[in-house]
Structures are given as structure tokens and as C-alpha cells.
Amino acid sequence: MRNITVEGRSALARGAAILGTGGGGDPHVGRLLAAQAMKSRGTIEVTSVEDVPDPLPAYRSA
């Protein structure tokens, strides 16, 4: 298990841009949105898909 904090937002955006292989354009606005969400809701916990309990819906991106 890992956490993504506000400090990691730029790395997160860059990673998203690479996974998106250019689709969706500059991740600048996405980075700002993520940073805003993290400021109000705290850090993001990264969980592997297998660890998500069954009844919860899981979304995949990229």
C-alpha cells in the first residue's frame, strides 16, 4: 500500500500523461484538480485492484 500526497501531484500528472500516451492533452488542469481534491480530502491511498473488497465497484483508468 502506498499514499500519494499533494507533494506527489506533479509526478502523478506526468505519469498520467505517459500512460495516456498524449491522449487528453496537457495534464495541467487534471493536476490542479487532483491537488485541490487532496487539499480538501487528504492523501490518496493506492490499493491494488485485487485488494478491493468484492461488493465495492472498482474503476480502472488508463
Partner: protein
């Protein structure tokens, strides 16, 4: 005769010119207050070449006061950012991406209100006058001195920004300056809004600076009109400068490049301006600086107003030269303290200027102070400088065509006569004051940037109209009608707008009309 003055962070340069002939030139450390540096420059020109103040036809000043105020976060007005876009855009309020210390420096307050347009001109929501008046009274309560208004898609339709400005002015009175985003930035809400907020925060300083500059000119008995240099190298009158201080931000590099073009006679070239702390590399095409096509980052804030494409590297005359294994030059610099700290001036810090003197490229201060420097160190530092500058020029180059290099600025003595892989370095006469010359020879521009609905078969007529309007605007701004020509024309169809809408951008430039 005309006088060009460039007030940089380190030096103030001034020239007295008759046509394209430089009659007198002056270079001196920039003073902390606005007026004394200008007065000193004018007196110095006067002592080199006597002139009657009445013979001066125009004074052009390029200044870094405004961009430096932002970078240093000093003397900024408490500013409100009002955005019209609710219920959209609330997830990213104004100044969301600003460095914290700058928000504090402008006592920035963000307000969201209903309004804004969709990309095709439909309203997102109607303006709510009561809401705007409530925001205005909160602004008054918090001592706001300047307001930036940005409405979603205001470049498509400015009606909400204009109406909101009337309402806010009505509540806050005429003393509170208002900046509207459609007059300052381009498409792209956050970047346009940022540029507008910066402009708003500089409005009080702009009044102060313009008053100071005007007073120092008239104090010398000069009654000629005063102009300020803009980002694109054209001139604006002082009333315009009071309202749009943000368009002076890149006038320093632009003036250097324009000066370099005139001095070298080259229309297409790279210009390397080596100052005290950094070197700016730009590219001239047809004598005008190439513009940046992407967002421009200013003091950590993303903006999108028109700026020349400039690459800055941390090498200048005051750069520290260090040796630990290999030789490094910059980015740390003694800056304006060069005349105290450099070895040739009796100091104890090894700077790039000391290296240039030791290599015999220039005679500055006391050359004997650097006679005993290790020749290997001198050679290593010169190679470092040449390689870094050559890399920067290479990065700015967009075609395999040979690109002549023109070196200007006081620090250009650091550069070799030839850059590896690039070619000869041109060093025109008066290279040290190229920026002041660029200010003095600046022209006057007029621009049209508007969405036209073009009926079938009417394109040529619309194009002619736009060209004529741009030329008329240049003449209205003070250009000599016989010299005005179109330098830039661009039309972009906007397929999602009804009625064959086309965005037409057209720019005309002409020589300043001088009263004899």
C-alpha cells in the same frame, strides 16, 4: 533626435539618437527609485553631446520595474479576482495554481459569480447583479484596491465582463482600477485570468512609475511625448501603460533583439544578450522577435499573453566561476555588486568578467589583479561559457538553415568570435547599449483580433476591412501613415460557431510620426 532608455534590473542604458546614428550613450547601475536613474542618464547624455531639450522629439523607455515588482513580490496592490462562470468552474477557483507567497503579496481574494459563455456564445448563466454587488461590498470591506474580472470565453463575447465592470465600479467608485481579461489574454481561462490578476496588482505601481518617469523627463525641460516599450517591441503611450502594465514584461529582451537587428543589419538571426546575471537567447524573423507559442511562466504563474520566445541561461558578467574538479560558471552571480566584488575591481570573488579580462578579451578595472590566474582555469571557464551559450542557441533553432548569431549586452565580451557548430558571432558597434537603441528605434503598432461572421463570397472584403482597421489603429497610436504596413496576418475558421465565423488577427506597424 530621440532618446531611448532601458531600465534593467542591473543597469540603466540610455542613448541619444538622430535617425539611426547614435550621438551619445550611457550605461550606469540602476537606482532604487525611478526618477534619479533617468535624470542621471539624461544629464550624462547632455554632458557627452550638448542638445537643446526642445530638439528631442520623443523619449522611449523600456522598464523592468513591473516584472521585477512581481518577481520580488513588492509594491503590489491588494487585488480581487472576480470570475464569471458559475455554476461552472467552481472546482478550480482563481489563483489556485499561484505560489502561496504571491497570493499573500497581493492580498489576493477570489470571488466566483454567475455568468460566462459557452464556446459557441450561449450563456452559461445570466449575470446576477445582486450577487456582484454583494461581492463588491466584501471587496470594499477587505480594502481591495484593484479588481481583475474574467468571464468564461470572454474572447468570444465580452458583454459580461463589460457589464460586471460597470456594476463593480458603481459600488467601489472610480478609484478602484478594473482590468478585464478579454483585453489582456487569449483563449484559456486560467492563463488569461492569471495575466489579468497580475495586471490588476500592478495598476497602482503603474501610476506611480509613469508619474515618476514623466516628471523626470519634464524636469529636464523635455516636453516631447513619452512612450513605453511593449512585449512585441512596439510603443505605447503613457495612458495605455497605466492601464496595461503587464504588457511591458518582456520589453527588455525584445528591445535588445530589435536593437541587435538594427545594429547588425541582420533580419533573421539569433540574438544573445549577455547581462550581469543571465544571458537571454532569442530569435529574430524579419526583424521581429519570434513569439512564444505556449504558455509563458512568469514568476511561477502560468499566463498566455504574447511574449517573445526567450531562453535564459544563468551566465552573465557577474557569474561566479568555481573550480572543483571541473569548472562551473553561474548560475550564482554577484549581480550589481560586480564593481565591489570582482577581482579586477579589487574584490576577492572570481567572476566571469575576471576571466574575460585575464584572457585579454576586454580591459576592465585593473587587469594586473588577474594576471596570475591559472591559464587552465581561464581556458576551462571560457569553454564552459561558449558551450552553454552554443547549446542554448541550438535549442532555439528551428531549421537546419545557418543561423547567424549577434551578441549584444555588456557581458558579451565573454563570448568567443565563433561558436562551435553554429558559426561566426557578430558583434555590432554599440553592442553594450543595444537595448536602449531598440527602445529608441521602436515603432508603433495597431492590432485587430476579432471574430468575424463571413458571408459567402465576402472573405476578401472582410480581410481588407481588418487590414485597414489595423493600419488605422497604428496611425491613431502615432504611426506615420506613409510607413504603416501589415506585418502579421492570421485567419482561423471557428467551425463550431454559427455563421462561418472566422477569427482574424492582423497587426500593422509603422514608424513613429515625429513633430519637427
Amino acid at each position: 533626435m530621440r532618446i531611448g532608455i532601458d531600465v534593467g534590473g542591473t543597469n540603466t542604458d540610455a542613448v541619444l539618437m538622430d535617425g539611426s546614428t547614435v550621438l551619445a550613450a550611457h550605461k550606469y547601475a540602476t537606482s532604487d527609485d525611478v526618477t534619479s536613474g533617468i535624470v542621471h542618464a539624461l544629464e550624462s547624455l547632455q554632458s557627452q553631446r550638448k542638445f537643446a531639450p526642445a530638439d528631442v522629439q520623443a523619449v522611449m523607455i523600456g522598464t523592468t520595474h513591473f516584472i521585477n515588482a512581481l518577481i520580488e513580490a513588492r509594491r503590489l496592490t491588494p487585488t480581487a479576482a472576480l470570475r464569471l462562470g458559475l455554476p461552472a468552474t467552481a472546482s478550480l477557483p482563481p489563483m489556485v495554481d499561484w505560489p502561496e507567497h504571491l497570493v499573500t503579496a497581493i492580498s489576493g481574494r477570489a470571488y466566483l459569480a454567475h455568468g460566462g459563455h459557452e464556446f459557441d456564445g450561449r450563456h452559461i448563466a445570466e449575470l446576477d447583479e445582486g450577487e456582484l454587488r454583494r461581492h463588491a461590498s466584501d471587496m470594499a470591506h477587505h480594502g481591495i484596491g484593484s479588481v481583475a474580472i474574467s468571464s468564461v470565453f470572454s474572447p468570444v463575447n465580452d458583454e459580461f465582463e463589460v457589464r460586471a465592470a460597470e456594476i463593480i465600479s458603481d459600488e467601489l467608485g472610480q478609484d478602484v482600477a478594473i482590468s478585464l481579461s478579454h483585453e489582456i489574454g487569449r483563449m484559456g481561462l486560467l492563463e488569461r485570468e492569471n495575466a489579468t490578476i497580475i495586471n490588476a496588482a500592478l495598476r497602482e505601481l503603474a501610476d506611480h512609475i509613469v508619474d515618476g518617469l514623466s516628471a523626470s523627463i519634464t524636469g529636464q525641460g523635455i516636453s516631447a511625448p513619452l512612450f513605453l516599450s511593449q512585449n512585441d517591441g512596439t510603443l505605447m503611450d503613457v495612458d495605455y501603460a497605466r492601464r496595461y502594465p503587464v504588457v511591458t514584461f518582456a520589453s527588455g529582451p525584445t528591445n535588445s533583439m530589435r536593437g541587435a537587428a538594427v545594429l547588425s543589419g541582420l533580419e533573421n538571426c539569433a540574438v544573445v544578450d549577455v547581462g550581469g546575471t543571465s544571458s537571454d537567447v532569442g530569435v529574430l524573423t524579419h526583424g521581429l522577435p519570434r513569439e512564444a507559442t505556449t504558455e509563458v511562466n512568469v514568476a511561477g504563474i502560468r499566463t498566455n499573453f504574447r511574449m517573445p520566445d526567450v531562453l535564459s541561461i544563468g551566465i552573465g558578467g557577474g557569474s561566479l566561476v568555481l573550480e572543483n574538479g571541473n569548472v562551473t560558471v553561474g548560475p550564482r552571480s554577484v549581480g550589481y555588486r560586480l564593481i565591489d566584488e570582482a577581482m579586477v575591481f579589487g574584490g576577492s570573488t572570481l567572476t566571469a568578467t575576471d576571466i574575460a579580462v585575464a584572457a585579454g578579451r576586454a580591459v576592465i578595472g585593473e587587469p594586473s589583479e588577474v594576471e596570475r590566474l591559472d591559464p587552465q582555469l581561464v581556458k576551462g571557464a571560457l569553454e564552459r561559457i561558449a558551450t552553454d551559450v552554443a547549446d542554448a542557441v541550438e535549442r532555439m533553432r528551428t531549421s537546419p538553415e545557418p543561423l547567424p548569431v549577434v551578441a549584444v549586452g555588456g557581458g558579451s565580451i565573454l563570448l568567443p568570435d565563433e561558436l562551435i557548430g553554429i558559426g561566426e558571432v557578430h558583434r555590432p558597434e554599440n553592442f553594450a547599449v543595444a537595448n536602449a537603441i531598440g527602445a529608441a528605434i521602436a515603432q508603433v503598432g495597431g492590432e485587430v483580433d476579432r471574430v468575424y461572421a463571413i458571408a459567402p463570397g465576402q472573405r476578401d472584403q472582410v480581410v481588407d476591412e481588418a487590414r485597414q482597421e489595423a493600419m488605422d489603429r497604428a496611425v491613431a497610436a502615432g504611426a506615420d501613415p506613409t510607413s504603416v504596413q501589415i506585418v502579421d496576418f492570421d485567419e482561423v475558421p471557428i467551425p463550431y460557431l454559427p455563421g462561418n465565423a472566422t477569427r482574424v488577427r492582423c497587426k500593422a506597424i509603422g514608424d513613429l510620426r515625429l513633430e519637427a
